[in-house]
């Protein structure tokens, strides 16, 4: 008998669930403040939906299976293909720009490590139908506002920004041929995690000559957009993507978040489908994996049979942000709590407790009472997780009165069981 959850998955006991709900609430509230609407899709899709976007290689990381009618299905490793499918199938019915968010549960069969699980939640924001970098700026602003809403300071994290379009123009200028660009992105995505020797090996394995390698590496010796402009500004594509980046940074400045958004040529993102600005969010201390990432993907919705639709997306898993918040003491201690616990002196008569509980629950309060006939001491123990104890029974109850006790201050008061005063005390007014 297996008493544990499957490897890479988690049980969420109430204290764990409270943490998840804190996260989900912040995710949802931020999305709503920025005018995003919520969507969801199936937990599994036809396998083809994932291979179409990411190639057959993706199957290695999938929980894929056949259903009892031999359909090839797979648990979703990301929600973007579902989103593309949904948007493509509605076509022009949807008023652009579409601003949607979701909190999907995702599944990846991967090697386990800190901040990486096989089953996890991911916050997704996407803006579809807007070609200008105002979409990227809006999404980055939402991401920053989210992290600040947890109590983090702008100095504690960095949004690292690059442009796939710029990288592409620079690589083509070297020249690296169009067909070899994906190989180059593959090397660059692993660049930061590798030492000098390992990096040489990566380049060699990907089929780049030493001179190509040195040319690519020279891009990384340049740390500012101004320098890139000086050196490659005559290249039309380079100039156009630099203009995009400058526009993006000027918008970010208007949002008041420029201090935590920086240009970083090392950000390329692994996925092949990005076409414009890409970004990752890291803790400034550099102790954790990226806590979020995203960018522009203008070709995906067309790939799913829809009209070509420019799009910008953002994803944040639940694991790394939780580590980030835990390390900084930003996660409140869970404590089961209800508004009122009903205590009774009556023996073998639950009626007053039930009636009082029902009355207060109908006003929206969270109320409990002892489901078994328990003595006064036991009831008071159980009442410790309540803000107030409400004593019912005896002559007071017959007169229509109850005693209410503030469990923190110890203050007690006799009030009418149907009185506004009782409601006001419970509301903390």
């Amino acid at each position: 008998m297996q008493y544990n959850p499957p490897k890479g998955t988690r049980d969420f006991y109430p204290s764990d669930m409270a943490l998840q709900n804190m996260l989900f609430t912040a995710w949802r509230e931020t999305a709503l403040r920025f005018g995003f609407e919520e969507y969801e899709g199936p937990m599994f899709e036809h396998l083809e939906v994932f291979t179409r976007k990411s190639g057959d290689e993706i199957v290695k990381q999938l929980y894929n299976f056949k259903d009892k009618s031999d359909r090839e299905l797979a648990l979703r490793p990301e929600i973007t293909p579902t989103l593309a499918r949904m948007v493509a199938s509605k076509g022009r019915e949807l008023r652009k720009p579409v601003k949607w968010f979701s909190i999907p549960r995702l599944f990846r069969y991967e090697r386990m490590q800190r901040g990486r699980l096989r089953e996890f939640f991911q916050y997704n924001l996407d803006i579809m139908g807007e070609p200008s970098v105002s979409a990227e700026a809006e999404i980055v602003a939402a991401a920053v506002s989210l992290i600040e809403s947890f109590g983090a300071k702008k100095s504690e994290f960095r949004v690292r920004v690059n442009s796939r379009r710029l990288m592409r123009a620079l690589l083509l200028a070297i020249p690296i041929s169009e067909e070899r660009l994906d190989k180059a992105y593959g090397v660059l995505d692993r660049r930061a995690k590798t030492d000098a020797e390992g990096l040489k090996q990566l380049y060699a394995d990907a089929g780049f000559s030493e001179s190509e390698r040195d040319s690519i590496e020279s891009i990384f010796s340049i740390k500012t957009l101004a320098e890139i402009g000086e050196k490659w500004g005559n290249n039309e594509e380079v100039a156009a993507s630099l203009a995009d980046l400058h526009k993006f940074f000027s918008l970010v400045n208007a949002y008041g978040i420029i201090e935590c958004v920086i240009y970083d040529p090392a950000i390329v993102r692994g996925l092949a489908y990005y076409t414009g600005i890409v970004f990752e969010i890291h803790d400034t201390a550099g102790e954790l994996r990226a806590m979020a990432g995203g960018g522009r993907y203008d070709n995906l919705i067309g790939l799913f049979g829809g009209e070509p639709t420019p799009a910008v997306g953002f994803g944040m898993g639940d694991a790394v942000i939780t580590e980030f918040l835990k390390d900084r003491g930003m996660i409140p201690q869970y404590k089961k709590e209800c508004d009122a616990f009903i205590v009774t002196f009556e023996k073998d008569n639950m009626t007053p407790s039930i009636q009082m509980a029902t009355l207060l629950r109908s006003k929206g309060f969270s109320v409990e009472f002892s489901l078994k006939q328990a003595n006064f001491k036991k009831q008071m123990e159980a009442a410790q997780n309540a803000k107030f104890a409400v004593f019912v029974g005896g002559e007071e109850w017959e007169r229509g009165e109850v005693k209410i006790k503030n469990m923190k201050s110890g203050e007690e008061k006799l009030v009418g069981k149907l009185s506004d005063e009782l409601i006001q005390i419970l509301s903390g007014k």
Copy 2:
């Protein structure tokens, strides 16, 4: 290319998701009012977790598969086995009674019909550790309060209650032997959906003689608990289970919900693991399948290696309750809405819009503005989904002022962009 979600699953566009969220919010709020804490588990479990509870027969209804390390896994068809596993593995650490709820997504490979999908959500309430029928009463009261919270009247639905313990005692008294009880429950669970001829066939197929059949059917000719008491009250088990039912109904009376809770010998519930009171909730009109069901299951947690723990559970899927609410016009029309839409006269300058949006979002308002440079008319069109339009730019903006317009009444006012007055107007105060 597959443009549709897999058979039996759904895409949730924002209007669909709004309906789901309305449901989830009502489910969650009711659970919290009644003092339940939220938990969750993995979306799939080791196959054994499900076969242990329900036998190998259940595999026919499962999405089961092997992962890449040859683990036998299955998408969960219900969360109760996960709950039993989680409670069993914590043992005495958990303070009893445990009152937990969850809103799991579940998967059953079944024939499709109205109100039945292959992927759905289910609301679960469970009380563990309380042997008395006060647990059943508390859960039924929560269920009734939930349905009323949607706006339904008590006359529109019925909680139909029976006791598996009573049925068992009556069947044993016929006598039907212990080993054949499950077969009898199987027939009884399908009894209401069958005509007279079909019913005879069901009994015959399950191996019951004609006289046994008539004896079992005679139970159903009795409509009140009093008659059962008169006829079989000398049987100790019958008397004990009748006492339980009487106690349950007296508690239900204290909760003030007796008018919609009735005894119905036809309710047996298909699952083998119920041990005491069972119930189903039906629309009074009898047009829909059961919208919820549950009962006492005292042996399950022991089966998962935990201490024997009495338990009562309740489940409500999202499909039938949605049909019920739709039929009664209780589902509000979805409309995308934000608090404020920022409109600007400025050309090629998004800074005032972004600054105003950022300011209001930081106060918790939901705010949008045009991400592309659009003319005034287009912006006003987009502002139609907002409660207020806020006009920024020009000399007023330079002076620190904005005009705010109530989109419903048309009322306009010039206010300071940082003023309390602006916040008060937006808050609807």
